[in-house]
Amino acid sequence: MSEQALQQAEYARQRKRQLKKATKMTLLYGVLILVAIIMLYPILWLIGASFKSNADIFSSVWFMPKEFDFTPYIQGWKTGTEYTMGHYFLNTFKIVIPKVIFVVISVTLTAYGFARFNFPGKKLFFSLVIATLLLPNIILRIPSYMMWKTFGMLDTYAPLVLPSLFATDVFFVFMLIQFFRGIPKDLDESAKIDGCNSLQTLIFILMPVLKPAIISCALFTFMWTMNDFMGPLIFISSVEKYPLTIALKMSMDATGGAFDWNKIIAMSLVGLLPSIVVFFSAQRYFIEGISTSGIKG
């Protein structure tokens, strides 16, 4: 009798534990799913809205359009300025592509120098890198503008692209130094014994190991430059040279009246497309890159 009671009690305890675990799991997943909905539903709703008629956009919470109408996209592509979205896309890429190349080269060389060599003033220079990392850029803006004005390079892409040739994107320098530290120095030593000079060591031995980190740098540069608004806003003044971000803002202001919402939403979504494609085709580089940079901060 007592044994049976004991067994029953044990059984009840077990049930209780299972129940508690199940409730906990439900609760956790509940939170995760709720947050995911809050995070993603606005995007979904907007995608739906881009196919809706203007009247339908603001009449329903449900994201699915009653029927798919592609005219917002056709109209959006024409923008309403004298250029199509294709033109602005091209402008954006004229900034993004050189910038990515410049960042990768200059940042890799600088990080290599800091991570693998001793030289006079190294400590001071490294602390300057860290200081620049924390420096509010806002302080640099007015003199930079004046400097490019003196060079006669306002309304060109030079102010947006050229500084990257000089490793001004210190965030990546810092990130790559962290990665370099994770590579055993034996690798350099044996390359040296094999007769590599330091540049050959970097290119043939270290860069292949660093590839994921370098790809992270390139991808982040791509995203941030695609998104950059302040830079072109300050330096680019002729419509012909506007990148997509400024063109979007301009069409929003131009059609800011009471209609054409679906067109602007469609344009915005098309504008996001390259970033979305790049993100999904390389998401592990984003997440790994950013994790490593933070860990040793």
Partner: protein
């Protein structure tokens, strides 16, 4: 052996310098020079057309009497006070849940990360305007819940709320950094605590939080520096309105620079903002020895 190493070291002494040379030039031209120039400009009156004229401390004196500046400063403070802790707390909370070895983590991690990748895009700011417009998604949801619609951009506080929410919505990258840190916390610590009968909630405060303070510190400083310089969200979503309720200091600086060409005055403002940011960063750094726990005895980094 030692001798030869030393010899080769001195021969290589300048190779490193050669590698960092691009950065050094960049630093001098695109960082150091602008800082010095902006410091000088803050003591001048300058409209880009004629040469700057020295006015001493006048810009700074005017600033402290300038109601628009004081207002922008207050609004910026309000933004930072809410945005930074909210974003950090939310990122940490979600990272904590994601760290629990649940199934399907990768899906959620990606889902949460997407907004932070797209978030700074102009397109998202435009879309945000639609979501919070009078008949936008949020008010429609409120309608479904039988609540009164809110005029989000009609009053200062709701407008401020929308831009704070936009930035909190982009919590993905902060979260990923937290998540990486949480994974580094040794599991034995929790096992030991469990033996002692410590609750999960207590573990969070006695084990998890102390162990990740270096990363918390990193995230806090980064978010602080960013928040004080926020420009895109108010510029694109609320345009500083209504009644300058979201007119953050960087917007005021921008307008003074590129609309009114008060270069000297705007430089003085940037310097005040710069000093405020630096002060907060310094306080955080100084205080870090009391609350940041380094596992490996610090280190130079």
């Amino acid at each position: 052996m030692k001798k030869t190493r030393k010899a080769s070291f001195s021969k290589d002494r300048y190779i490193g310098l050669l590698y960092i040379a691009p950065w050094l030039i960049g630093f001098l031209v695109f960082t150091l020079y602008p800082i010095v120039a902006s410091f000088y400009l803050s003591f001048t009156e300058y409209d880009l057309l004629s040469a700057p004229t020295w006015v001493g401390l006048q810009n700074f004196k005017e600033l402290f009497k300038d109601k628009e500046f004081i207002k922008a400063l207050t609004v910026t403070a309000k933004y930072v006070i809410f945005e930074v802790p909210l974003k950090l707390a939310f990122s940490l909370f979600i990272a904590f849940i994601l760290n629990m070895n649940l199934k399907g983590i990768n899906f959620f991690r990606t889902a949460y990360y997407i907004p932070s990748i797209l978030g700074s895009n102009v397109a998202i700011a435009i879309l945000w305007k639609f979501i919070f417009s009078t008949d936008g998604l949020v008010n429609q949801v409120l309608g479904v819940l039988h609540m009164n619609p809110i005029s989000w951009f009609g009053q200062a506080n709701p407008a401020m709320f929308t831009i704070i929410l936009l930035r909190v919505w982009e919590f993905g990258s902060t979260m990923v950094i937290f998540l990486a840190a949480l994974k580094e916390v040794p599991g034995e610590l929790y096992e030991a605590a469990e033996v002692d009968g410590s609750s999960k909630l207590r573990n969070f405060f006695t084990i998890t939080l102390p162990m990740i303070t270096p990363v918390l510190f990193f995230n806090f400083v980064m978010q602080l520096v960013h928040a004080f310089q926020e420009f895109n969200a108010p510029y694109l979503v609320t345009n500083g309105g209504p009644m300058k309720g979201t007119y953050l200091l960087p917007m005021l600086i921008y307008d003074n620079t590129f609309k009114y060409y008060n270069m000297g005055y705007a430089s003085a403002m940037s310097w005040i903002l710069f000093i405020i940011i630096m002060a907060f960063t310094m306080i955080t750094f100084r205080s870090s020895k009391y609350w940041v726990f380094y596992n490996d005895n610090g280190g130079e980094e």
